[in-house]
């Protein structure tokens, strides 16, 4: 088995810098041998055709992406998430769209569960934003939909939202005797 390959595997998988001494112990090699191998790896990685490098930092060596590619890597961080809305986010968005402005506790009364993360994800997506604060104890934040929301759903205004066609009678927010909004 190639000690060089094993060394590369160790560097690849280590979450923090490792010292040549540590590596030597794990690989049953002399520290000097490890240093030589590390120098060979460093040279190989320095080729312009390679995307990562070996870096000597306080406490040892580690691998990292080459700085000239940081812009790409950042872009990856932005787009890595899949676009589909979770069921929780979808229902939360629907409640906000039809009942805005609305506070988080009010949404939670309808959904019956906490909606913190759903609201955060909707804000991240630019579909929902804060719309001031409600009166009352604690003055909770009011949420509503954004212009981006209208554009994405191809709506001219909120009045273009399709009417609720269920037999549900509780369509008009002001008169809902059964709904105890707020905590």
């Amino acid at each position: 088995m190639s000690k060089k390959a094993a060394l590369e595997a160790l560097l690849f998988a280590s979450p923090q810098p490792v010292t040549p001494e540590q590596l030597a112990r794990i690989l049953s090699l002399q520290t000097a041998q490890v240093r030589n191998l590390l120098i060979r790896l460093e040279e190989e990685y320095s080729d312009a055709d390679r995307g990562f490098m070996l870096e000597w930092v306080a406490g040892g060596v580690r691998l990292c992406s080459k700085p000239e590619f940081y812009a790409y890597v950042e872009e990856l961080g932005r787009t890595a998430r899949p676009g589909t809305l979770s069921q929780a986010a979808l229902e939360t968005l629907a409640i906000i769209a039809y009942r805005q402005p609305i506070t988080r506790p009010q949404i939670e009364v309808i959904r019956g569960v906490r909606v913190d993360s759903a609201v955060v994800s909707l804000i991240d997506r630019g579909l929902v934003e804060e719309k001031g604060r409600a009166d009352g104890p604690g003055r909770p934040i009011l949420y509503g939909t954004t212009d981006e929301f209208l554009i994405r759903f191809n709506l001219n205004s909120l009045e273009d939202l399709p009417p609720l066609k269920s037999s549900d009678a509780s369509e008009n927010p002001p008169e809902q005797p059964s709904l105890t909004f707020g905590s």
Binding site: A97, L127, S170
Partner: protein, 262 residues
């Protein structure tokens, strides 16, 4: 505890697992299970478990009942309507179907297990190096849903909404002593009251508890007695005639101390 004999017991994931094992062990046609024989084996296994003091899960017992039921139905003379198919109402069919479906997934679970074997040895780069703290952007933040989906989602959310929970009234402290007093007043007027009636009058769980404790106290003091004519029959609470006078005020304070609220 030293056991004179040793039974090797396989561990089964549930009644279907056990049944499937028995069926396979005996190389039985799953669509023609000799139900009496299998039931006997099944029950024998449960007995073995009990002998080892192993608690038998409820699901195993439910299946045992089902087996016995099927066995009984097979013994009954068949009252077959003329147009019924030959095997149309063989009571074993549902069981066979359930067994087969379970077997499919037991098999699949085994394959999955093999597939996952050693997969942990493939290590990705550590998460700490993943690009972080970047606000994500989305090609389509809506995830491709249309506006009709929104209306449906709201209807769904509203439909599954539970009625608001009634705000629980803060419990008033209920004193056992107080209940003792009111019970005494009641039994001064009526000699005999049904236990059920007493409990039903109470408006909260603490009151039920306090009433019950008060009853026990009065029974202990010999003021009341409880009687039940038949097993599971109604319980009647009755005042002992000779005990009324023995209730002094001094004893009453003792109750107040012990029953300072629930």
């Amino acid at each position: 505890m030293e056991s004179a004999y040793r039974v090797k017991l396989d561990v089964f994931e549930g009644p279907l697992d056990l049944l499937y094992h028995l069926v396979q062990q005996e190389e039985i046609d799953i669509w023609d299970i000799p139900i009496a024989h299998i039931t006997q084996q099944y029950l024998a296994y449960l007995d073995a478990l009990r002998e080892l003091d192993i608690e038998v899960a409820g699901e195993f017992l439910v299946m045992a009942a089902r087996l016995v039921y099927i066995k009984a139905r097979m013994l009954l003379p068949e009252e077959r309507s003329e147009d019924a198919e030959e095997d149309g109402d063989d009571p074993r069919l549902d069981l066979a179907a359930a067994l087969l479906e379970y077997a499919l997934f037991k098999e699949a679970a085994g394959e999955l297990g093999e597939r996952g074997e050693g997969r942990w040895a493939y290590l990705p780069r550590p998460e700490v190096f993943a690009p972080k703290n970047v606000k994500p952007t989305y090609d389509d933040p809506t995830g491709g849903i249309g506006v009709e989906e929104l209306a449906k989602a709201l209807a769904r959310a509203l439909a599954s909404m539970r009625p608001p929970r009634p705000i629980p009234r803060p419990y008033n402290k209920v004193s056992v002593a107080h209940k003792v007093t009111s019970l005494r007043q009641l039994f001064a007027r009526r000699r005999r009251v049904r236990f059920e009636e007493l409990i039903q009058e109470q408006r909260s769980r603490p009151e039920v508890v306090a009433t019950f404790l008060a009853l026990l106290e009065l029974v202990r003091r010999g003021y009341l007695m409880a009687r039940q004519e038949s097993v599971f029959g109604p319980i009647e609470i009755e005042r002992r005639a000779q005990a009324v006078e023995s209730l002094g005020d001094g004893e009453d304070t003792a109750v107040e101390e012990s029953g300072s609220g629930v």
